[in-house]
Symmetry: C2
Subunit: 249 residues, 2 copies
């Protein structure tokens, strides 16, 4: 009998060309897990993720699923995968789920986090997880502007084009929450939505940072949203400091 | 006129053979800063740290001083140093201090922090800053045992020998505070003392982890202290996850 196994995965995205298997055989998270599954089960197994993450983007809780008729226990599968993976990918959990579970299509929401070091001097510690922003940020204004992003909206203005991907049918998404927190010199921005368009997180955070730095005025988010055109938003924030934190089903 | 400049320094210790300049010319933090000072001031300048950190140990607030007759502003010195240093060392502050200030001899206390990932699965995120401990820890017992370390005591049992260093005259030190905190799967152990013997932090934390894991019984710390002999303490914790957080003057 075929079982459906759900994996929860942590990775440091630094040395990966993102999640998705690439034609050129570059190192990707999906590719590495597929290789490990082949070693363990002695056959090709398809592994489906909740969605892509870009080159350099990390995950604390990426989710994927695969199907197997093997009788290995979940603990054995988890241990064998970790033993066959390099240390920059870890399988946190292997869980049996109903056959109807689909890592991509069953997603209810995803939460991404940007971690920003907001001080004059660059990061020396944990550099891949830290976006350096040297200018003072008006967090009150950023939080106020972020409110205009909450809800079911057309996020066309925050969607980048990607030549290699088919455009999704709609640019409408629902942002459920945005939380901006400060702790010492670190600022985290958490975004939770039912789904994200290509580079949507990076474009939103880039725009919020420009607003917080005084480069764009109050009211920018509302104005940009209404234009439905990418050229009105700010520059995308770098991938550095971005992590997929949680996928809800 | 000669000015004394105090530097506050952050570094990721991963790619250094510790703080101290080595005879073999290996990459050290002191060595890199000395090179940068030579580039900036066009002469050899002696730089004195608050003390050594071992290979792989990080710093969020190491302190050092040097003397200069240059008229460059503090902001210029800081910027020029950062521009001449690789990104794994950052100068957080350059400050003018009285001529009597000495980074090593004026120290009032130092605080070290161990960061431990306490879960079944290894670290994939921020590996150099994370000591993996897979076994359940009895934090209540660890905190209770840690209390026996507080105060002015002979820490001979937690002092490793180092063939290349002269032994200090005394093994008496004063531990001012030990704080053990849990946040999600992360446990931090902060130790504050007027000074630390060679590998004292690593030997203490290694012993506390053995107590917390049930490998050593309640009362171990008191018993080990009274022996004044290194062989009675637990194994040293690895350097991974250890950082010099703060030096007080």
């Amino acid at each position: 009998m075929l079982s459906t196994i759900k994996l929860t995965i942590e990775y440091d995205g630094t040395n990966f060309k993102g999640w998705q298997i690439q034609k050129k055989g570059e190192r990707t998270v999906q590719g590495e897990i597929k290789k490990a599954l082949k070693t363990i089960f002695k056959k090709d197994i398809n592994i489906i993720g909740s969605g892509r993450t870009d080159s350099g983007v990390h995950a604390l809780g990426q989710v994927a699923h695969f199907k197997t008729s093997s009788l290995k226990s979940l603990e054995e599968i988890k241990s064998a995968l970790n033993a066959n993976l390099d240390h920059d990918i870890s399988i946190l959990e292997a869980k049996k789920v109903p056959a109807t579970f689909h890592a991509q299509f069953s997603v209810k929401s995803k939460t991404y986090r940007y971690t920003i070091l907001n001080r004059n001097v660059r990061c020396s510690i944990n550099q891949p997880f830290c976006l350096h922003h040297p200018h003072t940020l008006n967090l009150r204004l950023m939080r106020q502007e972020a409110k205009s992003l909450i809800g079911r909206k057309n996020f066309k203005s925050f969607q980048s084009s990607n030549g290699t991907l088919k455009s999704p049918k709609t640019s409408i998404r629902t942002i459920k929450a945005i939380e901006i927190k400060k702790r010492g010199d670190f600022i985290t921005i958490d975004l939770k939505a039912n789904g994200f368009l290509y580079k949507m997180v990076r474009n939103i955070v880039g725009t919020l940072l420009e607003i917080g730095s005084g480069k764009k005025p109050k009211g920018t988010i509302k104005a940009v949203l209404s234009k439905k055109n990418r050229i009105f938003a700010g520059s995308a924030a770098k991938a550095r400091g971005l992590a997929l934190v949680f996928v809800q089903y």
